[in-house]
C-alpha cells in the first residue's frame, strides 16, 4: 500500500486541479441505486434463539455505518419512500410479524394469529410488554389507528403510497371516499387483540396485516394530510417507534445517530448507539479500512470489483448473499395513450402497440444476442460483476418457494440463433449498411434508455448495445437519465424501446402483481398478455390459492409465459456484499437485509 501513496497523491492533485480549473467543481451526485425499492418491510425485530459467543456479548460501544445517499428525512413508516429512510426505520420500528430465512411468518410484537373459518378474518394476539420510545404502551389501538390512517381519504393526497395494505379490508372504499367515519376492516377486540376483516378470503392476509404500526398517542390529533410534515415524522428525538433504537440526533444529509432504547421489549440492546454516515460510495472502502466506519450494509453493500480489496483487509469480515431482486433489460411492448396519461390511469385495453419490438421473435432474438454470463463474469477480474452474481430466468426472487428454476426458458448466449430468429421474422439488412431493416424495408432503430446511479448498470448499457449491433440491430443509446426523471420519462415518452432498470423485491409474498400486472405503474413496458393476467390473478384467488402447491404451479406457468413473451430479459442478480469489522459481533442478516436483529449486535472491547 505504501508504495502507492504517491500515486494517490498525484491522483488527488490531478483531480483537484481539474475541478478547481473549471471554477467551483461540482460534487459528484452520489449514486442512487435502489430507489425503486418496491416496498419496505420492517423486517427487523427480535429473535430469542441468539447464538452466544464463548465470551458472551457485552454492553456498550458505538458503531458507525455508511450509506451513499441520504434519507429524504421522512421517518414515518406509512409515508417514507426511499430505501435509505427505510434503513433508519428498520432500527426504530417493529412490525407485527417477522419472517424467517424461508420467508415464513413468525411472531414478533404479535405472538400468535388465527384465521377464521371462512378465511376472511385474521386475529392477532399482541405482546403486552411492548412500549413506545416515550414510555407509552403499545396496544391494539395503535394498529387500528395505523390502518385508519392508511385508508384515510387524505392519505394518498398527502403522498402516501401504501393504500394497497388496506385496500382489501371491509369498508375501505366507503371510508376512503369519506362517506363514513366507520372503518370496520380493523377492530381492536381488547387492548392486545386485533382483528382484520377482509372483503374476500385473502391469500396474502398476513402480508397485508403486517404493516409497521405508528403511535396513536402521538398522531391522534394530527390530520392525516399534515402527518408527513409533523415533527414526529421528521425530526430527531421526535420520531417514536417500538424498535431497539431511537433516532436521537441528525445532521441532515450527513449523519444520523440512533441511540438504544433501554426498555426494548426483547431486552436492552447491547450497543449504545449506531451512527449512520452519508459518504460517497467511492470513499466508503477507505473509511472501512481505516476503521472510521464499522460496516457497509444495506442498501447496496460494496461493489463486486472491490471484493479482493476488502478481502485483504484483515480486520474485516465479508458476508455475501444472494440479492433479493434483479436487474433487467425491459422491452416497451405498449405505450399509454395521451388521454389516459392525463387522467393518470393505466387501462391495458387502451394501450398502443409499439411496432418496433412487438414481434416476440425479435425479443427472443435480443435475449439470445446478449451475453449475460459475460456481464456476470467467471470470477475476480472477469465481467462487470467479477463473478459475484447469478443468472435468473424468472422475475420472482429465487428465495421464494414460488420461483421455478426449471421450466421457464433460459436464453443462452447464441448469436447464430439470434440471427436466425431475426431473419425468420423478416428483419433483414436490405441496403447493406450493416444493420437490419424492418420487414417493410424501412430503417429499424431501437432506442435504449438507462438511469444513472448504479455504476455497473451504467457500464452494462454500451456493452449491451455492442451485443445487439453484433447481430445487426441498430440501437440509439440515449444519455443516462437521472433516476428522479427516469420513471416519468419511461411512462410518458413514446419513442423508447429498451430500458434498463433494477428492482428490489418485497419479502412479503412472491405475488408479482406490483411490478408486472398489466395496469401496474411499475410495469414500464406496459406488458399486457391476457393469458398471463389470468394466471397471475388465479394465483391469488381463493379458495384454491390457499393451497401453496396450487400457487406454486400457477406461478410456474406464469413464469414460463413471462420468459416466452419477454416483457423483460432478466440480466442478472448481483450478490449483496456486506462488510463489517471483526469487532462487530452478533450479526445475523436476513435474506433481504443486513439489519436484522440489530438489538443483538455488540462490540468486542478494544483490547481483544
Amino acid at each position: 500500500m505504501k508504495k502507492n501513496k504517491w500515486l494517490l497523491l498525484l491522483a488527488f492533485v490531478l483531480i483537484i486541479s481539474l475541478l478547481a480549473a473549471c471554477g467551483g467543481g461540482d460534487e459528484e451526485e452520489a449514486p442512487e441505486e435502489d430507489d425503486e425499492t418496491e416496498e419496505g418491510t420492517g423486517d427487523d425485530g427480535g429473535d430469542d434463539g441468539e447464538e452466544t459467543q464463548p465470551e458472551g456479548p457485552v454492553y456498550g460501544g458505538t458503531i458507525t455505518g455508511a450509506m451513499h445517499t441520504a434519507p429524504d428525512g421522512q421517518f414515518n413508516p406509512i409515508f417514507y419512500e426511499t430505501t435509505y429512510d427505510s434503513n433508519i426505520l428498520s432500527f426504530t420500528h417493529n412490525s407485527l410479524l417477522r419472517q424467517n430465512d424461508n420467508l415464513e411468518y413468525e411472531p414478533n410484537i404479535a405472538t400468535e394469529w388465527e384465521f377464521s373459518e371462512d378465511n376472511r378474518s385474521v386475529t392477532f394476539k399482541l405482546r403486552d410488554d411492548v412500549y413506545w420510545h416515550d414510555g407509552e404502551q403499545f396496544t391494539a389501538d395503535d394498529v387500528v389507528f395505523t390502518y385508519r390512517s392508511i385508508a384515510h381519504p387524505d392519505y394518498v393526497g398527502a403522498g402516501g403510497q401504501r393504500s394497497s395494505y388496506a385496500a382489501q379490508l371491509v369498508g375501505f372504499e366507503e371510508y376512503r371516499a369519506g362517506e363514513t367515519d366507520e372503518f370496520p376492516g380493523v377492530v381492536a377486540e381488547d387492548d392486545f387483540t386485533v382483528t382484520f376483516h377482509y372483503k374476500e378470503p385473502n391469500v396474502t392476509a398476513l402480508m397485508h396485516s403486517n404493516f409497521t404500526p405508528i403511535p396513536e398517542h402521538i398522531f391522534a390529533d394530527v390530520p392525516v394530510a399534515e402527518m408527513p410534515e409533523h415533527p414526529a415524522s421528521q425530526q430527531a428525538g421526535e420520531v417514536i417507534g417500538t424498535g431497539p433504537f431511537q433516532l436521537a440526533s441528525m445532521i441532515e444529509g450527513q449523519e444520523y445517530r440512533l441511540e438504544k432504547f433501554e426498555d426494548y421489549w426483547q431486552g436492552e440492546p447491547y450497543l449504545d448507539a449506531i451512527v449512520w454516515r452519508i459518504v460517497n460510495q467511492d470513499i466508503m472502502l477507505s473509511l472501512l479500512e481505516t476503521g472510521e466506519i464499522d460496516f457497509i450494509g444495506d442498501p447496496s453493500g460494496f461493489q463486486p470489483a472491490d471484493y479482493a480489496m476488502v478481502e485483504d483487509m484483515d480486520h474485516i469480515t465479508i458476508i455475501e448473499q444472494r440479492d433479493f431482486g434483479y436487474q433487467l433489460l425491459g422491452f416497451i411492448h405498449n405505450y399509454v395513450p395521451e388521454e389516459d396519461l392525463e387522467e393518470g390511469v393505466f387501462v391495458p385495453e387502451n394501450y398502443i402497440e409499439n411496432p418496433r419490438i412487438s414481434n416476440p421473435q425479435v425479443r427472443q432474438a435480443i435475449a439470445h444476442a446478449i451475453d449475460r454470463e459475460a456481464l456476470i463474469g467467471d470470477g475476480p477480474g472477469d465481467g462487470l460483476l467479477h463473478g459475484r452474481g447469478e443468472l435468473m430466468n424468472a422475475p420472482i426472487a429465487p428465495q421464494f418457494w414460488a420461483y421455478d428454476d426449471v421450466n421457464p426458458k433460459e436464453y443462452d448466449y447464441n448469436v447464430d440463433l439470434a440471427n436466425e430468429l431475426l431473419d425468420d421474422a423478416g428483419y433483414i439488412d436490405v441496403n447493406d449498411d450493416g444493420f437490419r431493416e424492418d420487414p417493410d424495408g424501412n430503417e429499424w432503430v431501437l432506442t435504449m434508455v438507462y438511469p444513472s446511479g448504479n455504476e455497473i448498470r451504467e457500464r452494462s448499457a454500451p456493452i449491451i448495445v455492442e451485443d445487439l449491433e453484433a447481430v445487426g440491430i441498430k440501437v440509439d443509446l440515449l444519455s443516462p437519465f437521472d433516476m428522479s426523471a427516469y420513471t416519468g420519462a419511461l411512462t410518458e415518452t413514446k419513442e423508447f424501446d429498451l430500458y434498463l432498470l433494477g428492482w428490489s423485491l418485497g419479502t412479503g409474498d412472491p405475488d408479482p402483481s406490483g411490478l408486472w400486472s398489466a395496469d401496474a405503474g411499475f410495469n414500464f413496458g406496459r406488458w399486457y398478455n391476457p393469458e398471463a393476467e389470468e394466471l397471475r390473478i388465479a394465483a391469488v384467488t381463493p379458495p384454491d390459492a390457499f393451497d401453496q402447491a396450487y400457487r406454486t404451479e400457477v406461478y410456474s406457468d406464469w413464469q414460463v409465459m413471462f420468459q416466452e413473451d419477454l416483457p423483460a430479459l432478466i440480466l442478472y442478480a448481483q450478490n449483496m456484499l456486506f462488510a463489517h469489522s471483526n469487532q462487530m459481533q452478533g450479526i445475523n442478516p436476513s435474506v433481504a437485509s443486513f439489519n436484522r436483529d440489530n438489538h443483538l449486535w455488540w462490540l468486542l472491547p478494544e483490547d481483544n
Binding site: 494517490l8 475541478l19 461540482d26 480489496m309 443516462p480
Partner: protein, 310 residues
C-alpha cells in the same frame, strides 16, 4: 500599442512593390511578433509538443489496431502487455487506443468550441464596439446576463435535459455559454480604436463599415483575440474533462480523456491500476500546459510592453 501599429496602416496604403529592402529592415508588426514569439522557449517547445500530440491523435488508426469502443468482458482491467500497451479498462477496452482516440475528441471539442466562440464573440463584439449606442447596450446587457450564469451549472442543466449528448451539442453548449468574455474583449479594443485618426481617415474617404471592421479593426485587435481564444481552448478542454469525469460529458463508449479519468473514481483503480488514469491525466495536463504556454507566448509577442519581466 496603437501608435506602434500606425506604420502598418501607412504601409498598407503604400502601393510600392520594390520596397523589399526597406521592409526587411522595418519588419511588419506581425513579423516582429513572430520574432518575439520564437525567442520564447517555453512557447516554441509547447508548439512542438502540441503538434506531436495532434499528429498522434490524427494518425491513431496507424498507431493502434484496436477499436477504442470495443469491449471485451473476458479481458478487463488487465495490466500493460504487448497486446494492450496500457492494459484494458473496466469494460475490457484498450486503454492505449482510447488515449489516442480520446485525444481526438478532447482536442476537437476544445478547438471547435474555441472557433465557435470566436465567431460569436468577434461578430457580436464588432457590432457592439463599432456601432456603439443602443446596439451596444443591448448586446452588452445580454452578455452581462450570460456572464452571471455560472458556466458549469448551466452546462450541467442543459446536458442533463438533452436526451443525447453528442460532440456537436457539447461544443454548441460550451460556446453558447462562454461567448460573453470574448465579446467584451473585442468590444473593449474597438472602443479605443474607434477614436483613432486612421479610422476617421478611413471613414472620411468613404470606406464601408464592413471594410473598416475587417481591414482596420480586426487586424489591430488580433492580439488580445488570439491570446484569449487560445487560453479559452485550454479551459474548454478542461471543462470537457471535468464534465466527462463527473459523468455529464460525452457518454461512454465514446472515449475522451475526461471519461477515461472517471475510471479512477474507484479507489481500487486509483491504487492498483495507475496505467489506466495517469496517461489520460498527463495528456490533459501536457496539452493544457502547452496551450497555455502558447497563449502566454502570443500575448508577450503581441504586446511587448507586458513581456519585459526581467
Amino acid at each position: 500599442m496603437e501608435t506602434k501599429e500606425l506604420p502598418k496602416e501607412m504601409k498598407m496604403d503604400n502601393p510600392q512593390g520594390d520596397d523589399n529592402k526597406k521592409i526587411k529592415k522595418g519588419k511588419t508588426p506581425f513579423q516582429l511578433a513572430m520574432g518575439r514569439f520564437m525567442k520564447n522557449k517555453a512557447a516554441v517547445i509547447s508548439v512542438v509538443v502540441l503538434l506531436l500530440i495532434i499528429v498522434a491523435v490524427i494518425a491513431a488508426p496507424l498507431i493502434t489496431s484496436h477499436d477504442p469502443t470495443e469491449s471485451n468482458l473476458r479481458n478487463i482491467e488487465k495490466g500493460p502487455s504487448s497486446e494492450h500497451y496500457l492494459g484494458t479498462d473496466s469494460s475490457g477496452r484498450d486503454t492505449f487506443a482510447r488515449m489516442l482516440y480520446g485525444g481526438r475528441v478532447s482536442l476537437i471539442v476544445g478547438f471547435s468550441a474555441m472557433i465557435f466562440t470566436l465567431v460569436i464573440g468577434v461578430i457580436l463584439g464588432s457590432i457592439a464596439g463599432y456601432y456603439g449606442g443602443r446596439v451596444d447596450s443591448i448586446i452588452m446587457r445580454f452578455a452581462d446576463m450570460m456572464l452571471i450564469l455560472p458556466f458549469l451549472v448551466l452546462v450541467l442543466v442543459v446536458v442533463s435535459i438533452l436526451p443525447k449528448v453528442t460532440i456537436g451539442i457539447f461544443v454548441a453548449v460550451i460556446a453558447l455559454t462562454s461567448w460573453p468574455g470574448l465579446t467584451r474583449i473585442v468590444r473593449g479594443s474597438y472602443l479605443s480604436l474607434r477614436e483613432q485618426e486612421f479610422v476617421l481617415g478611413a471613414k472620411a474617404i468613404g470606406a464601408r463599415d464592413f471594410r473598416i471592421i475587417f481591414k482596420h479593426f480586426i487586424p489591430n485587435a488580433i492580439g488580445p483575440i488570439v491570446v484569449n481564444a487560445t487560453l479559452m481552448m485550454a479551459s474548454y478542454i478542461i471543462a470537457e474533462s471535468a464534465l466527462s469525469f463527473i459523468g455529464f460529458g460525452i457518454p461512454q463508449p465514446t472515449p475522451t480523456w475526461g471519461n477515461m479519468l472517471s475510471e479512477a473514481q474507484s479507489i481500487r483503480i486509483l491504487q492498483n491500476n495507475p496505467e489506466a488514469w495517469i496517461p489520460p491525466g498527463l495528456a490533459i495536463l501536457v496539452t493544457v500546459l502547452c496551450i497555455n504556454f502558447i497563449g502566454d507566448g502570443l500575448r508577450d509577442a503581441f504586446d511587448p510592453k507586458s513581456s519585459k519581466r526581467s
